[in-house]
């Protein structure tokens, strides 16, 4: 009798501890799927300022300032600009995750370029985007291209243009920036 009572108590303790230990990760929110990012931005851009402030209160000031600026920028876009961005985001989300990560990594490299070179590289990318794949390849292999851009910039443009997505048949009016 005493032994069974003792065993029950030990069993109860074990179950209680293991039961609570299992709760944490199992209750986490599911990972984001394609399009969730845009939905989050929409929600956050419409969030009351005090609620947003509370949500960002634990971040360091620089990070917080950057997020607030980006949200305000998004909030001030014209409806057609938002539609255009949504379309680009939708197309981007169709890329495999590893290619999305490549794009993010390349963009970080691009942001490290001097500002005046960033503008020149971006203009060149927009020009490449307008070309057919054959013309694009010819342009990248041209001596003019090789002379105009340093090896780092050439690599960025070559790799980034490989991420270009053909897109759907019916696309909204595409305005490059």
């Amino acid at each position: 009798m005493a032994r069974s009572f003792l065993l029950s108590a030990v069993l109860a303790v074990t179950l209680a501890v293991s039961g609570f230990a299992q709760r944490g990760p199992g209750r986490m929110a599911p990972p984001p799927g394609p399009g969730r990012g845009m939905a989050l931005i929409e929600r956050w851009s419409k969030m009351p300022p005090e609620q947003r402030e509370r949500a960002l209160s634990k971040l360091d000031p620089e990070r917080r300032r950057r997020i607030e600026e980006q949200l305000n920028w998004y909030q001030n876009l014209r409806p057609e600009e938002r539609d255009q961005l949504r379309f680009r985001a939708d197309m981007f989300n169709r890329l495999p995750p590893d290619r999305q990560d490549v794009a993010r990594r390349l963009f970080r490299q691009y942001n490290q370029l001097p500002l005046e070179r960033q503008n020149i590289v971006r203009d060149e990318f927009n020009s490449l985007r307008e070309m057919s794949p054959r013309d694009r390849r010819a342009r990248i292999e041209s001596s003019e291209f090789q002379e105009k851009f340093n090896p780092r910039e050439q690599q960025f443009l070559r790799q980034f243009s490989r991420l270009l997505n053909p897109g759907p048949m019916n696309r909204p009016p595409v305005s490059g920036r």
Partner: protein, 121 residues
């Protein structure tokens, strides 16, 4: 066949035991014994249980203490707090990442203007 040495040791043991004198049984031994048995039978089940389980009581008390301690340490309040905070932190990170993506996509339109998939680079 037994070892002679062992036989000798056994004989000495028996001799020693013969020397031991058991204390005489008291005259009311039987009466006291039966009275104890009757008392046991008259006791309630819980008194009998705690009487027989007395050595296990400290262990059971420790187990109960552990149970209470586990509720205090890992109880709903303690567990729910980080769970409630985690999605908030994660959501901020997701928003940050999505905004960075938008910053990139605003500067770089990754949708090709000309669809020429038959001649890839």
């Amino acid at each position: 066949m037994k070892d002679p040495m062992e036989m000798k040791e056994n004989a000495e043991l028996w001799k020693t035991l013969d020397l031991w004198e058991a204390p005489p049984v008291s005259e009311d031994f039987d009466r006291r014994l039966y009275r104890k048995i009757e008392e046991q039978e008259r006791m309630s089940w819980w008194a009998r249980f705690f009487g027989s389980a007395r050595p296990a009581i400290p262990l059971a008390a420790t187990a109960c203490l552990l149970l209470v301690a586990s509720f205090v340490s890992f109880g709903p309040d303690r567990v729910v707090t980080p769970v409630a905070e985690a999605p908030q932190v994660r959501e901020v990170e997701q928003v940050e990442k999505a905004l960075d993506d938008l910053d990139m996509l605003q500067q770089f339109n990754l949708v090709a203007a000309k669809d020429d998939s038959s001649r890839s680079m």
